[in-house]
Amino acid sequence: MYSVYNGQTLCFADFTYLITVTSNATIARRLSNVSAAILTAFLLTACDIDGGDNLPRVPDQGLFMLADVNRHEGDDSAQVAAAVFNDGEPVNLVGGDLFEVRTVTERVLLKQAGPVTGSYAASLPVDDSVQDVFLDVVHLPVEAREDRWYPIDLLNTDPGPGELVGKSAMVSFPPAVTIAPLSQTVYTSISDIIDISWNPVSAGDLMRILAAVECTDGLATSSYGVVVDNEVQLDMDLDDGNEVISLDKFIYDLDDGSDTLKFISDAALVLLQETLNQLSAGNIDPDFLLKQREANPIESTCEIRLFLQRQRPGQFDAAFDGGRVTASSSAEITLSYIPPAAFN
């Protein structure tokens, strides 16, 4: 799952994935993970800004279109990302084929790499009057090469249009989202409840929450994305104007509450740091490994940017076997999580 917000590409790891990693692992696997983590100098990074390995859930069979056009509150441009998958594999648009995105007055070509493998992205200027957005796969051999330095209109090997050229989709923006001010923005326990209210439209649109979380424990940092939709929380998708969500949907325990695991991990870290200190004759930063590891969110101070998104499904070409094409409006609020130890 992915989306593009506020001009920044965020990699939203699927929440169920995060839970699987932290909850269902066996102790043996945990020990193995600890060893691996030590060997790799605790270079485990959470889902960072780079979405290179962030694969969306698409069917294994058939031609599947994935596209999202999101307009964030206050922005004068919408973030557009689109991709086509064939039998589960992303289809590269090459040779001058590319996505063209149009409104009544504006037109952009998706030339940048998008947030998931094989996707393409761009910013589309929009204003309040823009309602419909059209996506087409077109063949523009000269315009596609416009970032090259040489005379592209003179020197151009054109292989002709690919198979996807001519396929299209159309989406319409849902009404803007307005989030009511929260009564509380600082939380100290992952069992705390976040009570979010917004302007309901009840037009059959789907709601979901995405979060960009950045944590620091003073030495190490971690950043990751979370998606909360109706697969994670029942009825989350209803545009009813209110949702109550537990903070543990966004803040998790990297050690999963296992004191044994934590003890072994910390001991291994200390041993390895001491070894490094001796090998380097004290020239290495005594906190080197602590800084390399990933901060455990539950023990860290975290900033949580919550994006409430109203999604409206669009239409895509009948030539596709399936697709997930949406336009969405989003708004954001920022919360803080301060662990009890730090808070006291």
Partner: protein, 204 residues
């Protein structure tokens, strides 16, 4: 560039006149050949590897400090680093030749050394080729185009007189080709060729 166009014809006339005068003067002549290590710059996001070229110069000295300079520049095929974008992978290469005509002032030291400069116009012929690859199942290809035009060159060098006839030369120079492919494309460019060179000369 506009200034260069204005200067082109008068400077050419002056140079021809100088050579004409020189042919009737009692001056020494010099032939030199240089091997150049070149760096090409098309003024944009190009990323050329270093290349090789040779120059041959004929000098006719009007007096002790000024000579006419006529020459020939021949470059090898200079490759660009491969790049990749939404269209596919691509790589360009450039090959150029130029006729050079200008002046060469010099300052001869008492020791067996001299410093000199070169300044003049060039008439160039440049070929640009682009190879493109689109991935499996899509035919790759290459296309090329050639253009000719004017530009200028300048250089600064030092010479060591091994004997009164044989000279070893070291020079840095810049050959500027203006408006390459202008009239053929909406995307013309200026090509700068910067070079270090080492050469030998013979005076007679």
């Amino acid at each position: 560039m506009t200034f260069m166009r204005l200067c082109r014809r008068p400077l050419f006339i002056v140079l021809v006149s100088l050579i004409s005068v020189a042919l009737h003067a009692d001056s020494k002549q010099q032939l030199d050949g240089n091997l150049l290590l070149t760096g090409m710059d098309a003024g944009s996001t190009d990323n050329f590897k270093s290349g090789r070229a040779i120059t041959l110069h004929y000098n006719y000295y009007f007096n002790n400090w000024l000579a006419a300079d006529a020459g020939l520049l021949l470059s090898g095929k200079t490759l660009e680093e491969s790049s990749e974008d939404i269209v596919g992978a691509y790589r360009t290469n450039i090959q150029t030749q130029a006729l050079l005509l200008g002046v060469k002032p010099r300052y001869r030291l008492e020791s067996p050394y001299e410093f000199y400069g070169r300044l003049g116009l060039q008439y160039w012929r440049t070929e640009l080729e682009v190879e493109e690859y689109f991935g499996e199942g899509i035919p790759e290809g290459a296309s090329s185009a050639t253009d000719t035009g004017y530009g200028y060159y300048l250089g600064l060098g030092a010479a060591h007189y091994v004997t009164e006839q044989f000279i070893v030369l070291f020079e840095i120079s810049r050959f500027m080709q203006l408006d390459v492919f202008e009239g053929d494309t909406a995307y013309p460019f200026d090509l700068a060729i910067n070079a270090f060179s080492l050469g030998v000369g013979y005076r007679f």
